[in-house]
Symmetry: C2
Subunit: 409 residues, 2 copies
């Protein structure tokens, strides 16, 4: 008699984005004449750049020819792409070896799956607010005994609460934890950890033999040269941190699907042999995964060429101009706005002590602007909403115009 993995029943509710889609659809159906401005989901909108497009066409021509066709590649990614990623880190002054690089189909799968190589009784610390995948993947893997409805938190997790006082980058926990999820630049708050803040975490992790899972998917949106773009810019981080990254937001690969993780050979935990964590992730990928699409990988290789990098940086600059436009508008309206300077997300305090979903509904009903309610990212996100800077310029201009003209604060 088969039975289900009952941890799934502990999940508090549906995923955030389907609920946004539901409310948006209902509004649209009741207001067919109104045009919606979507600043909710962080979905890229601008075309792939020419270097990438050329490389993709070329790869398809190769697959169309018996002489140049190729099938299965290495599960951990084509060597050429891994070497290009080694070069990417080299430019930041970081030495990574190509067997520490694991190419994947995106930062989301890696963020969700990385927990599986660690013990199921690991104590997990998560930033609050945070990208829901860190929490959800650990809940279904049995690391929480259930949702505490009264407090809006999962039992057994340690929440690192971001707030205005700590500028949304909380310090390490007081207690001992095993796995620590950090996202910098942060989704949803747009906060970026300073070198000193990351040093504190590395020092904590080394002291307690914890593992930091560092989600750097937005690192290319950092323009301030003093802010670290990789946790490996911190001394000792290789001994205690995995880094996850993605081509999604940097190069418009949200639909193309390509990411990577770095699992250093120096990384160790209480009971691991030398290099074992690196080998465990290799074994995990070889067993559960069959490599990212070879077409997507050809695109990724083009991104990392000099011309490709320049084009992707131009794309980032475009989105960051959007962020600036949104930020200025919201500040003109005297709203409290965080993030949006080194990250494509703006974290905005709801006026009049409104709750997140209330402000979401207000923006939808009054301005036809769709945002993401902060409470969907954890209880500390309550009273905030997230604006995404991904969008065509004209849509962003239309959205801020509508906010300026119609928002009744």
């Amino acid at each position: 008699m088969a039975t289900i993995n009952k941890n799934y029943r502990k999940l508090a509710s549906g995923y955030l984005f389907p609920e946004i889609a539901r409310r948006t659809k209902a509004y649209q159906q009741a207001n067919l004449d109104k045009k919606l401005h979507r600043l909710g989901i962080g979905n890229t909108t601008e075309a792939l750049s020419s270097e990438i497009v050329n490389a993709l066409h070329e790869k398809i021509d190769k697959l169309a020819n018996n002489e140049t066709y190729s099938g299965y590649g290495d599960e951990q990614g084509d060597l050429a792409l891994r070497e290009a990623l080694v070069g990417y880190y080299k430019k930041m002054g970081i030495d990574i070896e190509n067997d520490e690089v694991f190419v994947s189909d995106g930062a989301k799968p890696d963020s969700a799956n990385i927990q599986s190589i660690f013990s199921s009784d690991s104590i997990v610390a998560i930033q609050d607010p945070a990208y829901p995948v860190y929490v959800d993947s650990n809940v279904v893997s049995g690391r929480s005994s259930g949702f505490d409805v009264a407090n809006g938190v999962y039992k057994d997790f340690v929440y690192l609460k971001g707030n205005i006082e700590n500028q949304f980058f909380p310090p390490p926990p007081k207690e001992k934890v095993d796995l620590i999820y950090l996202c910098s630049p942060n989704n949803p708050t747009g906060a970026v950890a300073t070198k000193e803040q990351l040093e504190e975490y590395v020092s904590y992790a080394k002291k307690h033999k914890s593992v930091i899972i560092f989600d750097a998917a937005y690192n290319e949106f950092i323009s301030d040269p003093n802010l670290p773009k990789s946790i490996y810019q911190i001394e000792g981080a290789k001994e205690c941190a995995v880094e996850i990254n993605s081509f999604s937001k940097f190069s418009g690969f949200t639909g193309v699907r390509l990411g990577w993780s770095i699992v250093p050979k120096e990384l160790s935990v209480e009971d691991s042999e030398v290099g074992e964590i690196n080998r465990l992730w290799f074994r995990r990928q070889v067993t559960f995964f069959n490599g990212a699409s070879n077409i997507s990988q050809a695109g990724g290789l083009a991104v990392l060429s000099d011309k490709g990098l320049a084009q992707s940086k131009a794309l980032v600059a475009y989105y960051m101009e959007n962020a600036q436009i949104i930020k200025e508008t919201l500040q003109e309206l005297s709203l409290d706005v965080y993030g949006g300077t080194n990250a494509p997300y703006l974290w905005v305090k709801a006026p009049n002590n409104l709750k997140s979903w209330e402000f979401f509904d207000q923006l939808l009903n009054q301005c036809q602007v769709v945002v993401t309610p902060g409470s969907g990212f954890g209880s500390s996100g309550e009273h905030f909403v997230r604006f995404s800077a991904f969008g065509h310029r004209q849509d962003i201009l239309d959205a801020v115009k509508s906010i300026k003209e119609n928002l009744k604060i």
Copy 2:
């Protein structure tokens, strides 16, 4: 203090294919003048067909244009592709709804991940020999207490032993089990279950409330119209079976990465609510996965068009001619050959009671032919090797010529 998932240490050895690669490389380095004939890994060799190639180029042109660019799609796959898959089943007389179809990046990830929605104390039955992923994914998920070296099996698993007597498709187990992995056409034996055999399994599963995980990745290689191409051709199968399939072998997508699973809403287990298994897999995919590449999905849609299907069927026919050539040669040498008629794999008894790796070495050293040792698929695979029919025709002809001329039996 973080600790590792110690179930990984229970895995008996490295994955089969890296060991083949190691021995092959060593031989090649010692014999630089010899040309190898690779009939080991089931990796496609022929170019993508024109319908697919055109669709891929078109999709890239869309991604190159701001007006037609798209980013994230639905995690469970684009609706158009899911509807085309509904149509694919319709042609077999099977009614599937589009929210029962889950597009993925391949049959391997789905085969490995499907166990995660079931209880961790599930008793697992696996065909022996079998594709290693079924075993390995359940070992690292904690469903075996370890490897029994003396018997070459994992403890706590129920092995369904294939042998000459049952023509490599064993009957259901005597005892009660929870999850049953079946692969038909079988990798590695090439055996195909008859309608009657699958009826026996469906009847067993319904009686014991077990779930059949049916890997149909090679179903398009079936030419005998009496053999079932989907488990849903068996009455009642929707209540007890998940079906996994792939574009990899049918359409040359091994590197492009695209597959799907069917999780019927009727499927239920002991403690599930109506439709819950379907919803669990949806939740699993939404949490751990972000959709298959939109480029690959455009290719998959082309495969399912009338012209695309015809071209893929022609590709299958080509590989099956290879299978016929290999089969005839081996039979001329009086070897016992199974499979290769409705499947791209030939399952060959090693002569002179040789062990699998001994015959592997003999074929490598005498004929420069690389095969896959049957023992790598489980203890019942001992004394067999698998020949793969994937290859360019000339390479297949060269391989069989070398076997005819050089194999000393």
